[in-house]
Symmetry: C2
Subunit: 183 residues, 2 copies
Amino acid sequence: MALSHAILVSLLDCPSSGYDLAKRFDGSVGFFWDASHQQIYRELAKLEAANHITAETIEQDARPNKKLYSVTESGKTFLMEWLDQSVSLCPIKDDLLVKLYGGYLIEPDAMVKELRQQRKLHQTRLVEYQAIEDRFFPDVEALSQKGTYQYLTLRNGIQFEQGWLKWCDEAIATLQSFVESPE
Amino acid sequence: MALSHAILVSLLDCPSSGYDLAKRFDGSVGFFWDASHQQIYRELAKLEAANHITAETIEQDARPNKKLYSVTESGKTFLMEWLDQSVSLCPIKDDLLVKLYGGYLIEPDAMVKELRQQRKLHQTRLVEYQAIEDRFFPDVEALSQKGTYQYLTLRNGIQFEQGWLKWCDEAIATLQSFVESPE
DNA sequence: TGGTCCATGTAAAACGTTACATGATTCC
DNA sequence: GGAATCATGTAACGTTTTACATGGACCA
């Protein structure tokens, strides 16, 4: 149910086309939600049918035309009703941990490689987040309320990734002993 | 696709009925995967049809009969093929962060309350994880390889929850200033 | 001429959620 | 007498993923 809310929050921040949204969900919005362009287009169609957003067609000459979506009053009300409800913990689903749980079935060496690979991916993401922090939030004291809220979501992403790096290091160090001296 | 792998990994660790699995997914397996009993029964039927698991009916007098599932050779092969493939980062979807991103639309006071509530939920989960750590992993040095792998998944859960607590505290402290002196 | 970017979508299959359904036993 | 536990499922619906589809502009 929350994809619609993620889209509304993002559109409220800045009216955009489906294509733009898809890119944002792949970038900055990506630190709290993930969605493919197919999902986004379908959800936009639904939100428009429900009058929560309106589209304005922008004619472009060197490029395909695009539809610029904005949130309506009804959409804002719909979003605020959701904001007023309390949320529960999000369910955990992590392929890597399933794999690790059954890790004893494969070579310790292969598992260490996999963890190193994961560590690299998290490292890359952390660098991206930190670049956003440096570029868009250089002076935290000077932020508006809205800016502060957005900054806090970014901080969450940064802390998460740092946690991952720390855990990967711990796990790699532990498994290293199996590689050196297998039981 | 990974629900099947999570079930196989868990069944390989210990043959069980659907009911038992559902409870484990709600408990210890819950720190890396989440699934309802309906999903589990459906997936078990599929896995049995694919010959990845076999069922043995256990007659019980004071209780309903149950089907005890075990992983077949074919199931083990299927799982190991998956274990050999490298996994990508798991997509992030977090209601709380969507809410926070649009947090400027509601009262700072309401947002602080919500964060306190979340903090409590994470705290509860952390205590559960630590209880598992104390009960089942009192001597980390003495663990078998299999035990070590399972311990590492638990450590991941613990670190995560500690990260959440830290972030919640940071966020609450930041928002507190809005409650005391609104812009 | 081959790839990436812009821009929008459809369709089918897999996966997840919610509600419904049953029935004995055990504990308070 | 009522609730929880054990134990299994079905059905409808909603969401997500994967694959397919189009077509011009721009760059090397």
